[in-house]
């Protein structure tokens, strides 16, 4: 089984790389872009029987830094 973990900076935490992408898109003429947030997608191959609670523990302990990041899990 697989799980996908999306890790994003929390709202309110400045994302300088995302801002740089926004500027570049604007400079290319994509004037409709009002904001960009850049994050990470982590794919996990998991043994049968792994629970969402296990993946939450992985996120809390390593995959996300919850001081600045939030995460979303898709199993």
């Amino acid at each position: 089984m697989k799980a996908k973990v999306t890790v994003m900076l929390k709202d309110g935490v400045l994302d300088p790389p995302g801002e740089a992408v926004r500027h570049a898109l604007g400079a290319m003429g994509f004037d409709e872009v009002e904001g960009v947030r850049q994050g990470k997608l982590i794919e996990l191959d998991l043994a049968k029987g792994t629970t969402e609670a296990d993946v939450i523990a992985m996120c809390e302990k390593l995959l996300a830094n919850t001081v600045i990041e939030s995460y979303r899990i898709e199993m």
Partner: protein
């Protein structure tokens, strides 16, 4: 007086840190990240700068979960001294020994130059050798030194006098110009600048030497 310098794959200021400790009178041992215990009788643990584990996932994230990190946390919880410049600061934040986190520099560029810092707190072993409001020149070399912390914690850090160093002109976007943070017991210091690269005039400056001397004096007095 004994100092242990941790070495991770990708550390690159470990020897500089060892030289700085030795110059201040410490017997110094290097400790590989796969060790599970610190050498007997260690007074100070140095967590060096560099790019531990290639900065994979987040700067310092993997190092903070390495085998030696548990011994490091136990040492700090026992009241031991820890000095952690640059990647070391990132590792301590990831390990939960210091509050906050280090984000990508606001200007997105890796910055490598000597910058002036203001010493704002002298009540710690690390800063006892400086005068309050003294301005010292210390090199920085980082891509992720943009310190952030929630407002409530920031108020507490200010109230408790736990921000010993601020940039005179913030180069990296760090909140409130914070260059370094002390633990509540004032024995753990993380900072983005590199005092260990400024301990001898041959390095272009020696304003960092007083930090190591201060630490040595605190241990002699204890």
């Amino acid at each position: 007086m004994k100092a242990a310098v941790l070495v991770f794959p990708g550390s690159n200021c470990d020897r500089d840190l060892a030289v700085a400790f030795r110059a201040a009178g410490f017997v110094t041992e290097m400790v590989w990240h796969k060790e599970t215990a610190l050498p007997e009788g260690v007074d100070v643990v140095g967590v060096p700068g560099g790019f531990s584990y290639g900065d994979y996932l987040r700067c310092g994230a993997i190092a903070a979960r390495s085998p030696i990190a548990r011994a490091l946390v136990a040492h700090a919880e026992r009241g031991g001294y820890v000095f952690a410049p640059c990647n070391g600061f990132q590792i301590l934040c990831e390990a939960g020994l210091l509050p906050g986190a280090l984000l990508r520099n606001a200007g997105l560029k890796y910055i490598c130059r000597t910058v002036p810092l203001r010493v704002e707190e002298t009540e710690s072993a690390f800063t006892a050798g400086y005068a309050r409001n003294q301005v010292i020149d210390i090199p920085i070399a980082h891509h992720d030194g943009n310190y952030t912390v929630d407002d409530e914690t920031l108020r507490r850090l200010n109230a408790e006098g736990r921000i010993p160093f601020r940039y005179v002109a913030t180069p990296n976007g760090a909140k409130d110009g914070i260059a370094g943070v002390l633990s509540k017991n004032r024995r753990v210091l993380g900072m983005m600048p590199h005092p260990e690269r400024a301990i001898d005039p041959l390095q272009g400056g020696s304003d960092g030497a007083a930090l190591f001397r201060g630490l040595a004096q605190a241990l002699v007095a204890a």
